[in-house]
């Protein structure tokens, strides 16, 4: 798939119009995972606009976003950066064989108190 198509696909999956962004940075100011991210929440918009999708799908930020929706709640332009991040994540995990969490890893990650909810949500986030 060409880069242009991928950018279009991200816009389609996310339902976000990145051109609405006014680059205020309130998403990055609100993000609890800001320091762990290589591409920061406010930068997602320009990556999609510029069509630099390769960098985006290879970004560590995809797994660092906690889906806490603080950026969605506070964005003054209704751009919803978390939706863009999730759409990029979908691009990765919808490809055959691509996954960010293998069932083999699971046992060692568990402890006696681990709630089912944690596993379910982690699988939703990391795998198709």
């Amino acid at each position: 798939m060409s880069t242009v198509n991928k950018a279009e696909l991200i816009k389609e999956i996310s339902g976000v119009n990145p051109l609405k962004c006014m680059k205020c940075g309130k998403c990055s100011a609100s993000c609890p995972s800001f320091n762990e991210m290589d591409i920061k929440p406010h930068q997602f918009v320009s990556y999609v606009v510029n069509g630099d999708i390769e960098a985006l799908v290879n970004s560590a930020s995809l797994t660092k976003c906690l889906s806490c929706f603080a950026c969605i709640e506070r964005c003054p332009r209704d751009v919803k950066p978390a939706k863009l991040i999730d759409a990029a994540r979908q691009l990765v995990i919808r490809q055959k064989g691509e996954t960010m969490l293998s069932p083999n890893e699971i046992p060692e990650l568990l402890d006696p108190e681990t709630p089912q909810q944690l596993l379910v949500s982690a699988f939703r986030r990391y795998r198709r």
Binding site: K20, M22, K23, C24, G25, K26, C27, S28, A29, S30, C31, F34, N35, K40, H42, A70, R74, C75, P76, R77, D78
Partner: protein
């Protein structure tokens, strides 16, 4: 049969780029009644108008169709042109092929086809036009200004200086408005009160100005040149003629715990109060909701201490009815409520304040006597953070879509004043863009950065986090460094968006003045008629029309005054001749038309009618042309089809419908 000329304008390339004007000329030549058709670069220009006049003479035309921009733009121009050519100005119709055609369509064939159809509709209408004569109406030589802030005061002074009487209606107990609450003004840093109060005094002393404070406009009727306005003068509970303004009543009033509106609720006032020391008039009012006398019947101390005997608990609201030729709206603005912005902890912490509250804190007459201090514990702050664009430029349904325009400059002012007076206080400003267009404005902002060391950070704040020790942790972002910032501050100041005074919608409805979704009043033309409402005789002054700072407000206030003076200086106004007219032969006197008329323009007369040779005495409708505004409600209500609207007759509109559906 009419002899019609069709004139197709290129409007440079505005029309000609999308509409094949030559083809339009060719296509309309065969329309019934069309004797002549031509196109020209700019029909509205002197040369274009000369072509029209020439064609009228050469072809003995008696009707004109101009295919051009919106009639709202140049209908008046072409009507005057027709008059110069010796034909009745109401024999002109405009086909709007710019706003309604060339500007919104791309495909040339499609746009051309539509332009031809629009031209045909106009031609069909002109075929049925009849010459109309405009009537005359008088002008009441008195103006009303609604709102007594700097905009209203300036407009009133300018109109009064030109020799016309003006009334100011202000809902607060004193004139002065928002400007009276400010401490210093940009870009010169002079004291707001020092430049405002002389104007207030001048207005109060001006022989042509009458000030109604603590009053509201209750009802408006009439039309340009002849408005009738009812003003409610709220019961002040003080005899204004007796009160000497000594202030003893306020001093002795036991109910001192009412939040002061003037100090934005940061301090308290008594139940009997003047909002501020320089109030005009310097006569207090009793806040009946706070007054012990009104709540319990006991007390009455103010009455006891008043040597002048001015206190009158029995006063009631009074109504004043006055006639005006022109009305200026100067209702101003307020800051938005911040209840939807709790991430900035405005409602959670006393040390998070709005910029207008900071003005009061910095003001020597304010709640802290001008000392910069935290409102929670009175301590002197060492770190202050300013947050810009709170509720401005929003598209999320929480805030306003527009830029409030004044915040960048007043924040630079605040930052500079603080750094000047308290050099040990650090000031950080989080901004999205710094917008400082205006004379000496950007220089002013640069001074804050370069000479006063104000720290400007490009980026927004996500959350203000109150700490157990009373400090405020500001979590923001520096987009240039690409870093998240956690900054401990003692005070946070929010540049909250401004919005038009919420009362303005009610007033706009009374005036039938158009208003936009943000509650700003709409101007008649965004560029060429910025101080007039589309409703004739209504003028706009100050922030009610859009965000502006003091210099701009004063300039616009003057402009609004000039427009009002221009109206008041006329002895007669031409009235709209497109009024209703009843056909006595068809009228059966049923009164349906009179019932729907909003202007009471229809009356009945019993007269003898010669109905096809049969003479009989009937009750028939009569339209008073001076009162009729030409809405047409009666024409549709009339069951017998007797009532019709001149200029928009049933036959004319049906001819347009037919032409479009052909």
């Amino acid at each position: 049969m009419q002899r019609i000329g069709v004139f197709v304008c290129h409007c440079g390339s505005n029309i000609a780029a999308t509409v094949d004007v030559k083809k339009v000329v060719e296509m309309v030549k065969t329309e019934p009644g069309v004797i002549h058709a031509e196109d020209y670069q700019y029909m509205c220009s002197e040369a274009g108008q000369a072509k029209i006049i020439e064609a009228v003479k050469e072809h003995k035309l008696n009707g004109l169709v101009v295919c051009s921009c919106s009639p709202r733009m140049h209908e008046a121009t072409f009507r005057k042109c027709a008059e110069r050519a010796g034909i009745n100005p109401y024999m002109v119709e405009i086909a709007n092929i710019r706003e309604h055609c060339s500007w919104i369509h791309k495909d040339m064939d499609e746009a051309t086809e539509k332009a031809v159809i629009l031209a045909r509709a106009a031609i069909a209408k002109v075929n049925l036009n009849a010459p109309l004569q405009a009537g005359e109406s008088g002008v009441v030589k008195r103006a009303l200004v609604i709102g007594g802030g700097i905009a209203g005061i300036q407009t009133a002074l300018d109109i009064a200086d030109a020799g016309f009487p003006v009334d100011i209606v202000e809902k607060e107990p004193s004139i002065g408005g928002r400007m009276s609450q400010l401490d210093k003004t940009f870009p010169t840093l002079d004291c707001s009160a020092c430049i405002l109060t002389p104007k207030m005094v001048e207005a109060a002393a001006h022989p042509n100005i009458t000030i109604h404070t603590y009053s509201e406009v209750e009802n408006v009727s009439g039309f340009v040149g002849n408005f009738t306005v009812e003003i409610r003068k709220k019961a002040r509970s003080i005899d204004m003629d007796k009160c000497t303004g000594c202030g003893l009543c306020q001093e002795k009033c036991p109910m001192k715990k009412t939040p002061s509106e003037f100090n934005r609720g940061l301090g308290n006032r008594s139940a009997i109060y003047t909002p501020f020391a320089q109030a005009i008039p310097n006569v207090p009012v009793i806040d009946r909701n706070a007054c012990l006398k009104f709540k319990t019947g006991k007390c009455g101390i103010c009455s006891t201490v008043c040597a002048a005997g001015a206190i009158d608990y029995t006063q009631v609201d009074t109504m004043v009815t006055e006639k005006y030729g022109a009305i200026v709206v100067a209702t101003g603005f307020d800051m938005i409520k911040l209840d939807k912005y709790d991430e900035y902890a405005y409602s959670q912490s006393k040390d998070v304040i709005t910029s207008l509250e900071l003005e009061r804190v910095m003001n020597a007459a304010g709640p802290t006597k001008g000392h910069l201090e935290r409102l929670s514990d009175g301590k002197a702050p060492k770190e202050i953070v300013f947050i810009q664009c709170v509720g401005s430029r929003c598209a999320d349904g929480r805030g306003k879509g527009y830029c409030s325009k004044i915040c960048c400059m007043y924040t630079a002012k605040h930052a500079m004043l603080i750094r000047d007076k308290y050099p040990d206080v650090n000031v950080t400003v989080f901004y999205i863009d710094v917008r400082t267009p205006g004379k000496n404005f950007d220089e002013f902002y640069r001074r804050a950065v370069e000479n006063y060391g104000v720290n400007y950070v490009k980026g927004q704040v996500g959350k203000v986090i109150p700490q157990p020790d009373g400090k405020l942790l500001v979590q923001g972002v520096d987009l240039i460094d690409n870093k998240q910032i956690l900054k401990e501050a003692d005070m946070v100041v929010l540049a909250a968006a401004i919005e038009p005074n919420p009362d303005v919608r009610k007033i706009a409805t009374m005036l039938t003045a158009s208003i936009d979704n943000d509650n700003f009043l709409t101007e008649a033309h965004a560029k060429l008629r910025p101080v007039e409402s589309p409703t004739a005789g209504i003028f706009l002054s100050g922030v009610c029309q859009g965000p502006k700072d003091i210099p701009e407000t004063v300039a616009q206030a003057g402009a609004a005054a000039v427009k009002a003076i221009g109206l008041l200086a006329k002895d007669k106004l031409m009235t709209n001749p497109c009024t209703a007219k009843s056909d006595e032969l068809l009228c059966n006197g049923c009164s349906k038309c009179a019932n729907v008329c909003p202007y009471g323009a229809i009356s009945y007369e019993v007269k003898e009618i010669n109905d096809h040779g049969i003479r009989e005495t009937r009750r028939v409708a009569q339209v008073n042309n001076a009162l009729c505004q030409g809405c047409g409600a009666c024409t549709v209500a009339c069951p017998s089809g007797a009532m019709d609207l001149q200029g928009f007759s049933n036959r004319q509109i049906i001819a347009e419908v037919d032409a479009i559906c052909r």
